[in-house]
Amino acid sequence: MTLVLQVENLTKHFQMHHLGQRLNAFRGISFTLHAGEFLLLRGPNGVGKSTLLRTLYRSYLPRAGHVWYHTIEGRIDLATAADVDIALLRRREIGFVTQFLIARPRVSAEDIVAEPLRRAGIAAGEALEEARRWLAEFGVKRDLWRAYPTTFSGGEQQKVNLARALILPQRLLLLDEPTASLDVGARAALIRRLAELKAAGVAMIGVFHHPGDVAGLIDREMELTAEEVADDVAV
């Protein structure tokens, strides 16, 4: 099996200068992930599951440890890689799916969904056709495709968000509670798409409030416990 991710002793804390305090998120986390593997993160609220996903994606800067990401050209440490390289990997290889859509004013649902394909160099017409296919698949009504999602309900926004996040297959997907606020039809479409991507070799790490939703996809589980979270330290 092809190695995708090799996490070694990853540690994150937040230095809060105005409080003169350090807030520990997790420490010493190690695991590996292969192509087509699905790793479920478990643990009570506040134990750092979402923080771990954001640290892998580099929205949060790790304090220590390594996140070796393996590509055909070699490995790169996501913990210390230059920002511009992270930006490039996010565009091509590493996706992050959240429950929140960042809608922009005056950009239609179909344009938002087509954008990752356009950026990957696919022609406008073809990208738009594919975007519409995915909007339909996730159950967004046809008369909303050309409307601005800023005005949509939470559930409809979430469907647009998923269509956009999953339209372009990537090598590594980080899933932060993507099923929250989804209706039954959209949830089924999401599971179908994840299964398809997994079969195509996409590696996934997910946090799910109801892991039963993705029970058939899970290969391994990792329990985060409070032991990995040391007490807050004043500095």
């Binding site: 949060y60 800067l61 890689a81």
Partner: protein
């Protein structure tokens, strides 16, 4: 505390803009101290900081309006002009007119207010050697259209236009010659919020469709958050932190950046 160490870049495409160790003093006042910056093809680099942080001085350096006491500035251009600070006045003016576009906060700095809007844009094209009246007019029209300026008003003078429309004329002038670098100095400051959103949206579209490299300076964190891929935070003429936009806003490292981000409404 210093930001966490980042490894050197691996990206194979060279930076579009590379500034190295740029310093400038006015008497005893430090305007810029050893500032280095890079912008990559097709990305938006945001620069934030309070008044007097040096962010606007840095942008003026990028537009070659000012020369530093020390430092090196290169753009990735086919003719490889070397350190741009070493160019003479004529070469600088030519380079700025043809390769770099700028939109100022104050439209008076960028436009002749009593010339027509189309005439302001055509002036750029004249510098580049366009002489045919029909071509001047149609190219000016295209640039105004790309800037989402209402073409029915292309012969109105900027002095007769609203603030948002004046910014669109500046933008049209800036992109008329398809520059490799677009500099934006507080482009929406002072505009109504709704107008501001529309102008930012136009910039986003241009960025997506033309993959133009942009540097945007603003004290408005909302503007930077909407626009930028990467962010540099400046204070007292120095760069205190830089990072991916989402990291700067979600996990700021430097004490000053934390204050700045937490102070945002």
């Amino acid at each position: 505390m210093t930001p966490a160490l980042r490894a050197p870049e691996l990206m194979t495409t060279p930076a579009m803009l590379t500034m190295t160790a740029v310093s400038r003093r006015y008497g005893n006042v430090v305007a810029l101290e050893e500032v280095s910056a890079r912008a990559y093809p097709g990305e938006v680099l945001g620069i934030v900081g309070e008044s007097g942080s040096g962010k606007s001085t840095l942008l003026r350096m990028m537009n070659l309006e000012e020369t530093p006491d020390a430092g090196d500035y290169r753009l990735s251009l086919p003719d490889q002009p070397g350190n741009l600070f070493d160019l003479d006045r004529f070469a600088r003016r030519m380079l700025c007119a043809t390769r770099i576009g700028i939109v100022y906060q104050n439209p008076h700095l960028g436009l002749l207010m009593r010339n027509t809007s189309s005439g302001n844009v055509a002036e750029r094209l004249l510098i580049a050697g366009e002489r045919s009246f029909a071509a001047l007019r149609s190219r000016a029209r295209d640039a105004l259209d790309a800037s989402e300026f209402p073409l029915a008003r292309m012969d109105a003078r900027p002095v007769e236009l609203s603030g948002g429309m004046q910014q669109r004329v500046q933008l049209a002038k800036a992109i008329a010659l398809e520059p490799v670098l677009l500099l934006l100095d507080e482009p929406t400051t002072g505009l109504d919020v709704s107008v501001q959103a529309l102008v930012l949206d136009t910039l986003k579209r241009l960025q997506r469709d033309r993959a133009i490299t942009m540097v945007i300076v603003s004290h408005d964190l909302g503007v930077i958050r909407t626009m930028a891929d990467r962010v540099m935070v400046m204070r007292g003429g120095r760069v205190v932190e830089e990072g991916l936009a989402d990291q700067i806003f979600q996990d700021p490292q430097h004490e000053y950046t934390q204050q700045l981000v937490h102070a945002k409404l």
